[in-house]
């Protein structure tokens, strides 16, 4: 329970007493003030559920350490300018950094495939995934709902997500990026790219998903994904 929640509940309790007092006095102005204060308390209670400072700061420091470690590994493997893709294997999704486009024969960790080094990061199944509403629902609609459930509703990492389908490519528009994530956009381990690839792997019926293009604007990011069912990507 945080301090904002305690403050909000206190304001609501006091405002209810004020309303009762106003009714007893027959002063509807006082009743109005009481209702207004109770709304204020309600707003405080609702906003007490947003992430708090200490946990966010601690997680940011922890994330920075991990991102620096992985960036050093990518640098040593000469993979800073590499391509990234996600491969679904059993119950695990592998996020693979490699110079060759999506090598399928990879194991979690560092290794060689197709004459090039790779770094494969295993990700566990994401908790919030939606199921297809009907058999006629398009894959882009399912992907959009899945991404919104994870990135908007669960993680509050952005304000909105839109997905457009073109042939076998998916254009993912992410807008209203969270300030805490923006600092990682220029890093090789960009959270939006990794989360979108991980969710897409779960939502789409594809063996692997490759990031084709990535464009960053001030408060938005565009990711173009290509979903393929089988066969190594050259």
């Amino acid at each position: 329970m945080n301090r904002l929640l305690v403050l909000g509940v206190n304001v609501v309790v006091v405002s209810v007493l004020l309303v009762v007092y106003g009714i007893l006095l027959g002063d509807s102005g006082l009743v109005g003030i009481g209702f207004s204060a109770s709304l204020l308390g309600g707003v405080l209670v609702a906003y007490s559920t947003t992430p708090r400072d200490p946990s966010v700061v601690a997680l940011l420091n922890y994330s920075n350490i991990l991102v620096d470690a992985v960036t050093s590994t990518l640098e040593d493997l000469d993979l800073l300018e590499s391509q990234v893709c996600s491969i679904k294997r059993g119950g695990v999704t592998l996020l693979v950094y490699s110079r060759t486009p999506c090598p399928l024969e990879v194991d979690p960790g560092v290794g060689f495939a197709g004459g090039s080094p790779y770094l494969a990061i295993p990700t566990t199944r994401l908790s919030t995934l939606v199921e297809s509403a009907s058999s006629s629902e398009s894959t882009s609609s399912l992907l959009e709902r899945s991404l919104a459930a994870v990135l908007v509703d669960e993680l509050s990492a952005c304000r909105s997500i839109r997905v457009e389908e073109e042939a076998d490519q998916y254009r993912v528009y992410i807008t209203g990026l969270a300030d805490v994530f923006k600092q990682y956009l220029e890093r090789p381990l960009d959270p939006y790219t990794l989360l979108v690839l991980a969710v897409s792997s779960e939502a789409l019926p594809a063996t692997y998903i490759r990031l084709v293009e990535r464009k960053i604007a001030r408060d938005s990011i565009l990711l173009v994904l290509r979903a393929e069912k089988s066969g190594a990507g050259s």
Binding site: L4, S28, G29, V31, G32, I33, F35, S36, A37, L39, L40, G42, V43, L44, A46, Y47, T49, T50, P51, R52, D53, V56, D153, S156, A157, C158, R159, G176, L177, A178, D179
Partner: protein
């Protein structure tokens, strides 16, 4: 707490206190006026500060406040039309 949320709550609280003092000083007795001005103050604060990320509870709050505001305005319009 995110800085945007802190600024929003500060602006919102200030607007609410000012509007309530103003209305009471003017002798306003209608409860719905206090509530609607409060909701208006909230949306003005939200639009001005625009927190980058919020929670699901805040989204529900936004919808509920908008519904309450709509009902109050609709009731007032109905009163004017009837009279």
């Amino acid at each position: 707490m995110e800085r945007g949320v802190s600024v929003l709550l500060l602006v919102y609280t200030t607007l609410v206190v000012l509007s309530v003092i103003g209305l009471y000083a003017l002798g306003e007795k209608r409860v719905d006026v206090y509530i609607s001005l409060n909701i208006l103050a909230y949306y003005v604060s939200y639009a001005v500060t625009g927190p980058a990320y919020t929670s699901r509870h805040v989204k529900i709050l936004n919808i509920v406040l908008f519904a309450v505001f709509t009902v109050i305005v609709a009731f007032r319009v109905y009163e004017v039309l009837v009279s």
